[in-house]
Amino acid sequence: MISQIFSLAFLAQTIRITVPYSLASLGGVYSERGGVVNIALEGIILNGAFCATVGTYYTGSPWFGLLCGIAGGLLVAAIHAVISIHVKADQIISGIALNLFAVGITKFVLQILFQSSSNSPRIAGLPYIKLAFLKDQPDVEHLLGNPLVLLTVLIVIASHFIIFKTRFGLRLRSVGENPEAADTVGISVTLYRYYGVLISGVLAGLAGAWLAFDQHSFTDGMSAGRGYIALAAMIVGKWNPLGAAAACLLFGFAESLQIQLQGGSLPTQFIQMIPYLATIIVLAGFIGKSAAPGADGIPYEKEK
């Protein structure tokens, strides 16, 4: 069993699961650091996957499909942003409604375009970078050579610097922590909240595109709760990019362990519970306090 776990195939499996979690989770960090709760991540991922599939199918270009995936994610995020920031409606309910909407609309269009209520035709995947030392393990090579893996690592590291070391990050955090103070010093709360939510749309849209390319097709409801796991990782990671990514890696590790142990003596359902139990334990403060940004989820009403 130990040798199975420390194999390259296992590593590849873990990375395959971790990449979309991390991208979506980072999206959650940007959105919530700016003060907008984003339960719509699930729907953003789903629509991203759908648009990436459709874009790739009709142009034959996975790179164009990738852009479509980002655009699809942005679209759902933009609706969430308008409802949350402009209309100042309940952000949690908006997220739930958009998740429902994404499930409905993707299946609806799937049937119009492909006459199937369950899956799209096969699409090409992203080209991969050839890795000479993995020549004899093509599956692992395709995965580790996937440019999105490298991109995800870069985004994780960059996000840490953007959020904690740049003026943009400081402003984003200030509108999420104390919008009144930010407003007083002339920072546009509305603008920065839009940035946060829209960045989450780009990142979770990418996560969706990853899923579509990894599976070479779209299947209905293929986000399969990943948006919620990403939220969980964000909380376990205490709203920090590096923490969130580490939590995603932990969840990805547990999940590939579960796949590895399938049919074994330990019921897989208990491994499935790990991310959720971990979140509850962390939130309850048993392992250090994890506190949301001060104004997370609260619409900003400018004083008149």
Binding site: L100, K107, P267
Partner: protein, 364 residues
């Protein structure tokens, strides 16, 4: 000031608005839905007329509609009572899973108990199961401040994994993902055993339990001291604490009651329809409960009306599926929710402008 209050336009009255906003939202979402129908190349009027006539026009359709309505009433009441206490219960889905499973579990081990004991016993089992699943996030919120929204989402997944474990490993009929049948005395009769016109539709007398639950929630929240405390906590928890009302106690209590009500969903599916618990029996009923509570303005009787509408849409998706993809219905439901939460702000603004204009004209 006094002059203004005297001249308050009837449209400005909160009760009128609470009534008008959901209707406005529903009408608007049907209008948006019409665009989707046009995209598919169908006639919206035709599609909608089939939707209404096939659901409301036949007793079989009404039976199907009521069958879909019953769990939505439970889920809607569960969310609504928590809303009244200022809590957002996204966990009805997990609560109803655990509750329905408990009903089935107790039901399979209590063969031979007479019906007058068995039926209340199974109902109680469901309430206890759901109640425990509501108690956990309530307790965590009251004692550690952990947000109930995140915890209920997490508990939904844990509940799904837990019942999945039980019905694939421990309590299942071999090679299936459902439990054995419950004791025959625990079965709730279908309408068609008494009224033959409902023949074939799964609607059963658990809908009476749902209506009873709505009345009970109304009485509890509006007419008892406990309900008063719950509402005060929901409106202003600081004021409640000053007034000697324990916020912690009310948080735990309302989440537990909310969970117990969601746990009653098993009366419809387990006791009244399949007679066993099956993995994946609920397709998001708990989440739909949020929409139902919103549309019903957290009023128990509003919840019944909203559940009827959503029940009609859920069955309606199937009857229009030959004309447009049935997902049109999910899109409609999502848009209704978005319009309800948005129109609270937008609709009121439009109304105020409208009234202003009217008053100006009158004054001219």
């Amino acid at each position: 000031m006094a002059d203004q209050t005297k001249r308050r336009h009837w449209l400005e009255h909160p009760a009128t608005q609470n009534f008008l906003i959901p209707i406005f939202a529903v009408v608007l979402s049907f209008a948006v839905g019409a665009i989707f129908i046009l995209i598919v190349g169908q006639n919206p009027f035709q599609v909608y007329s089939v939707l209404f006539s096939q659901t409301l026009g036949t007793s079989y359709g009404i039976g199907q509609l009521l069958f879909k309505t019953t769990p939505l009433i439970f889920a809607g009441l569960s969310v609504a009572i928590c809303f009244k206490a200022g809590l957002f219960n996204i966990g009805a889905e997990g609560q109803l899973q655990i509750g329905a499973f408990m009903t089935a579990l107790v039901g399979m081990y209590t063969v031979g108990v007479p019906a007058f004991l068995e039926i209340p016993l199974l109902i109680l089992a469901g309430m206890i199961g759901g109640g425990i699943w509501g108690f956990i996030p309530g307790y965590l919120k009251a004692k550690t401040g952990a947000h109930e929204v995140i915890n209920t989402i997490m508990l939904n997944f844990i509940a799904a994994a837990l019942v999945s474990f039980f019905v694939t490993n421990l309590f299942n009929v071999p090679a299936t993902v459902h439990t054995p049948e419950i004791a025959p005395t625990g079965k709730i009769p279908r309408f068609d055993t008494i009224f033959s016109s409902f023949s074939g539709s799964p609607v059963n007398f658990s809908i009476l339990i749902a209506i009873l639950a709505a009345v009970a929630v109304w009485y509890y929240v509006d007419k008892t001291r406990y309900g008063y405390e719950l509402r005060v906590v929901g409106l202003n928890s600081k004021a409640a604490e000053y007034g000697g009302i324990s916020v912690a106690k009310n948080i735990i209590l309302s989440m537990t009651i909310g969970g117990a009500i969601a746990g009653l969903v098993g009366t419809n599916y387990v006791m009244g329809y399949k007679y066993y618990f099956e993995e994946g029996f609920s397709t998001g009923t708990g989440f739909m409960g949020i929409a139902v509570a919103l549309l019903g303005n957290n009023n128990p009787f509003g919840v019944i009306l909203a559940a009827l509408l959503f029940g009609m849409l859920e069955y309606g998706g199937l009857v229009i599926n030959t004309m447009v993809p049935k997902e049109l219905v999910s899109i409609l439901q999502a848009i209704v929710i978005i319009f309800v939460i948005s129109s609270n702000k937008i609709f009121r603004k439009i109304l105020v402008n409208f009234i202003k204009k009217r008053t100006l004209r009158v004054n001219d």
